[in-house]
Amino acid sequence: MGNKISPKELLDLAMEVGILKRVIRTGWQKKGVADPESVAEHTFRTAILAMILAPQYSLDQSKVLKMALVHDLGEAAIGDVIWEQGKVVIGSKEEKHKDERQAINDMFADNPHFQEYVELWEEFEKQETAEAKFVKQLDKLEMVIQAFEYKKEGSNKESLQEFWDNAEKYLSNQELGRYFEELKKLKK
């Protein structure tokens, strides 16, 4: 019993994480996509991709899946800040990460049971390990699949091009590049 999370801690955490269901992905909103997805929806499919693909690349499935689930949690406090446009950096990644780090620490409130998740988030942010780089690729693959779907649903092709450019930056010549190449063929 002593190791179990208290009901209050669990409910606080659940509600904090639940905020992401209502945080709209800013990039789509700015491009005028009708009814754009939330950060939680993006995380859901990123996690599914992680579950399916991690074993195929001989990576620790559990670790990659958990990292995919926590990678955008910090946005519950600050929102989805655009810091890149296509391949160009337009904002301060460092400040965004500083605020998100604060949010993650507040969310997990120094509870020793949750330190693993704080560390996974930090690992993702540092982009040094194979798992962190893999989740970054999954993050971008999910984004560009969404761009493809929005275009199919009638969104303006040109206005969505910057998402393809951004995906190119992270996926070209990388492990998951083959899925991106396939998507590019479908786009034509």
Binding site: E75, A76, D80, I90, G91, E95
Partner: protein, 91 residues
């Protein structure tokens, strides 16, 4: 009026700099700048804090016509109405 303009207006009405608002929210100045440059919209709990700090009703920041209506809002709507009327006349 866009969210970013509403935030700027509310912050200035409360006599706060971006830095001061950032400190009150425990966020970086760059994040406030991102909100005012339309590079992000704060989540509802953060929005509630902004409303409290700036002394504005939360509806002021939400979409729709609730909250304060400015002359710019009215002008924008008039433009849309005029444009629709012109289309109807053309038919």
């Amino acid at each position: 009026m866009t969210f970013s303009n509403k935030l700027k207006e509310a912050r200035r009405s409360a006599n706060l700099s971006q830095k001061q608002l950032a400190e009150k929210l425990n966020l970086s100045e760059k994040t406030i700048s991102a909100y005012e440059m339309e590079r992000a919209i704060p989540p509802v709990p953060t929005l509630e804090k902004i409303a409290k700090i700036t002394g504005q009703p939360i509806n002021f920041f939400m979409n729709g016509d609730e909250g304060k209506v400015t002359l710019n809002d009215i002008a924008e709507k008039l433009d849309i109405i005029m444009s629709e009327l012109k289309k109807l006349n053309g038919k």
